[in-house]
Symmetry: C2
Subunit: 327 residues, 2 copies
């Protein structure tokens, strides 16, 4: 993307911060899109490398999105913004349809004025297959399913260069609310309060298998997809390795300088893959869909960061940011 004008939405988020750094380091002219000034606004100058432009936009506001595209005329868009909490989606399902579906449509519609500019929409492995299963497991799944569907449809209807990415569970240093980061925070809390009584970290399904990938590897995949992906294709991004949550917990805890209070749950834990919001990998049967689905390895991508390195970096990030709690 060297020399190209790239817009990154959701730039203050966990993946967004890494994306801004990687694309900026690669020579792209990055505009980081943030919500209208709030905490993110205050942080913005500290968050991003020099040369990165910051643009504040409420993506749920159709006019504001159109204005942003008119002003910034990006040659490519990495659309990371959206809401992604399964529990919150139960509490406010309409919000998820507004932020994950309509906001994406406002962006796609605005981008019709720049027909050569590519748009990479980051979907979710937690989508469901309409017509194949009776319904989504939660409103978040519904919103991401519809987001992908309308993005691909806009691409088809208006001949827009739209691409989709479906990452597995992303981990790494930064403000993540995923399993590894939550456990790392618990470890640092244990270190800070060594000798004091703190409640144990509860593992609900230590035997559950997940595919974890370093967020920096995922961002490299986004870069490759934006440069070399085939329009209208869904690219799956994963490490290819399934890991048990219990094993990961043991690896993280082995890096601790103190004892970490844990509730390991029952040895024979239920293995229901639907009980957790992170368990989407196997919701979707592989099939012969009318929409091309590829593994991003088809473009020559492979993970580069060792899993153990990711864990160390997560712990390091939590320790470094503990005082300010910028997690």
């Amino acid at each position: 993307m060297k020399g190209q004008k790239l817009l990154i939405t959701g730039a203050a988020g966990f993946t967004g911060r890494h994306a801004v750094h990687l694309f900026s380091a690669g020579g792209a002219e990055v505009t980081a899109v943030l919500r209208p000034p709030s905490i993110a606004g205050v942080l913005s100058s500290a968050l991003f490398p020099e040369g990165v432009k910051v643009y504040h936009c409420d993506l749920s506001n159709r006019k504001a999105v159109a204005e942003m595209i008119k002003e910034t005329t990006p040659e490519a868009v990495l659309h990371l913004a959206g809401n992604n909490s399964v529990p919150e989606s139960w509490r406010n399902p309409l919000l998820y349809m507004e932020t994950n579906v309509m906001a994406t449509l406002y962006l796609l519609e605005a981008m019709r004025s720049l027909p050569a500019s590519r748009i990479l929409v980051v979907g979710s492995r937690l989508k469901f297959k309409p017509g194949v299963v009776a319904g989504p497991p939660h409103p978040y799944s519904l919103s991401k399913t519809i987001e992908e569907l309308v993005s691909l449809a806009w691409g088809t209807l208006f001949k827009q260069p739209v691409l989709l990415a479906e990452p597995c569970n992303l981990i790494g240093p930064g403000p993540s609310t995923g399993f590894c980061s939550l456990l790392a925070q618990h470890i640092v809390r244990s270190e800070v309060h060594a000798g004091e009584e703190i409640p144990p970290f509860k593992l609900s399904s230590r035997h559950a298998l997940r595919d974890f990938l370093d967020v920096r590897d995922a961002v490299r995949a986004y870069d490759l997809i934006l440069r070399e992906g085939i329009n209208g294709t869904i690219y799956r991004i994963d490490s290819g390795t399934q890991r048990q949550l219990g094993d990961i917990a043991e690896q993280l805890i082995s890096r601790s300088t103190t004892s970490v209070p844990m509730d390991w749950g029952p040895e024979q834990a239920a293995r229901s893959i639907l009980e957790s919001g992170m368990a989407g990998d196997r919701l979707i049967p592989s099939d012969t869909s009318a929409t091309p689905e590829e593994n991003v390895s088809s473009l020559g991508w492979k993970p580069e960061i060792e899993f153990s390195q990711s864990l160390s970096d997560i712990l390091e990030y939590c320790r470094a940011n503990w005082e300010g709690r910028m997690l």
Copy 2:
């Protein structure tokens, strides 16, 4: 629905007017939902039988929808409102997502406060099958596809009694913009301006086959579905007879009192079923979907109004309303 509180959205529309009359005559306590005062508001007292309540609501306004449901506490909802012009959907695709998808969601979400109340959402045969075909033929198709999908999903997620209807091409007296009504208007114009030069009615595909059903028969089906349908089911409603547009034109013209200028198009017209917005019947392959799909005949419904009667009534309506042009 005798004695039940029924809310009918889109009540000023072609199907809506017939629905208000039928349900009101059947003893339901009908509230007719119209857009905030405009022409429809002025017409409302003349449009509906005595005893029908009129409620003005912008269904694209989430708060207004919630307020309406709170005030009217319907025991059943017939959701007919929405936009349904294929050409307009190309000009303003986002409008179609807002009115056909988000407005329906606002209604479904508001109805969660009345968990026993049934909601019949009227979908379209012009939907497409995500995953089976690459994309929708037009934004209207996309919006109706997503409307059905989210309606069924809301029913599954929140255990709401949601039902779907998919009528074929509805015809009959009233303000329709369908083929039969447009041709009938042309015939009346020819009668009124007999002896003058008026441009011919152009048939673009006289050999195209369509399934037409009288709107009053469809409304009887909606009544049956609301009373006896199985929640979460899609009910197809059709006459079962495919008719050539050219034959229909000849039948209508034979009822004219004057000569009707026609451009019949080429004898060997292209039979593309995608060229017209009314041609959805065969877009959808029958399949074994996870969502139950039934013909409404499974509930004991069958059409009662002869096709020739529908044509006569359409022509009669156009003649009676020609002066005021309330078509």
